[in-house]
Amino acid sequence: MVQTKKMYVLPAVKMSELISENPYLMLMLEHFGIDLVVGDKTVRELCTETGISEGLFLSFANLFNGFQPSTTVQYSFADLKPIILFLKNSHLYYLEEKYPQIRKYIAQMFEINEQSAMVMVEKFFDQYFAEVTEHLHYEDQVVFNYVNKLLECAETKQAGNLPDNYSVRVYQEHHDDIEEKIEDLKNLLLKHLPSHNDQQIRRKLLFSLFELEYDLNIHTQIEDTILIPLVEKIEQFISTLHDK
């Protein structure tokens, strides 16, 4: 449980106040596909408007504020749709915005700081990015499609054409840690790589890495503590359909 000085998010709080306290919540709205212009709406009003369940919204918002999701919240199968949407949008944010931005900063830093180790940093990042891309595509194409199929089955109460030997357990095993190399890169930049007039660009690069890390960390927690248990529940439900 990470302790935090931020407030615990409750339904009656205004979204704009929450964002003023923790701007990272803007990313949460974006991943949910919610307009950033939130006016004076409270969390509850936003939930009613968007159809996202309060329990889910609060869990996510509190994760952003540093609180572990409460184990007493019961998520419904209907929550899976916004969860998948959220995760998919996060993937777009990583692949189309954050990683290219970091890559650009590394290239710019290399223009200023020409030490040979920078070539290796570029290579390090490119290899890492290739791994991440593969992992995220796997989630998009295999895992999320699988979850959508499960949802269809649960809605129609028919165990239709599910892939036979796939279960979310397989995914759990696939689920390797993509945060580790970000940490490595941060430490190289902060502790080891000597600077050559690259202060500004190094700072931009580091900020970018911190932002990515913040979001990735929450992403992993959502997958591990909310998505996977919920998918296991729906798998169980569907297996009871089989038995009938």
Binding site: M1, S116, A117, M120, E179, E180, E183, D184, H192
Partner: protein, 199 residues
Amino acid sequence: MTNRNHHIVIIEPSSVIYEGMFAIMENSDERFNVVRLEKLDEIPAYTLRKAVDIFIVSPVLIQNNLKTFNTIRDSLPQSKWIGIVYSYFDQQQLSVFDETISIYDTPDAIISLICRVVEHHEDDEQGNKERLTEREIEVLKLLTAGNSNKEIADQLNISIHTVISHRKNLSQKTGIKSVSGLTIYAVVKNIITLDNFRE
């Protein structure tokens, strides 16, 4: 104490005791990240992801798992171990811990004990911070040349277990876990040259 948050893992089957410990730490002026794990078996996977300063463990869990516990403890030389004592335990059982807390201790006594352990721990680190030992440098060189733990163990005539512990220290000291990251580190520090790196 430094400003770093201290990462503490509590492994305690009783929720009442866990919640109590958590509240005591939360209400103190120190900064702790407190996480609860259910079983000893969860430690190895957890420590791959996060470095833990202190484990607070119920001796009950160790009673019949002494072997497992010793293996885990030896694999994590950087962490300290505190036992939570709430009934009579054999002295020998408690000797596996660095310190013990009794549930009848006052919150202040508990916090000051934890701080003492952490500080002591940091003194240990301070002495050799960043400074790699010769053995660690040898391991680093072999590692960046693409050798596996087994190959490194064979070449240096040490056990795989020792190689793993050197690697843990390397990562702890440099803050870098991946081999490719360590390779960059080794080049920056002139431990290997880029020519070594290009096969």
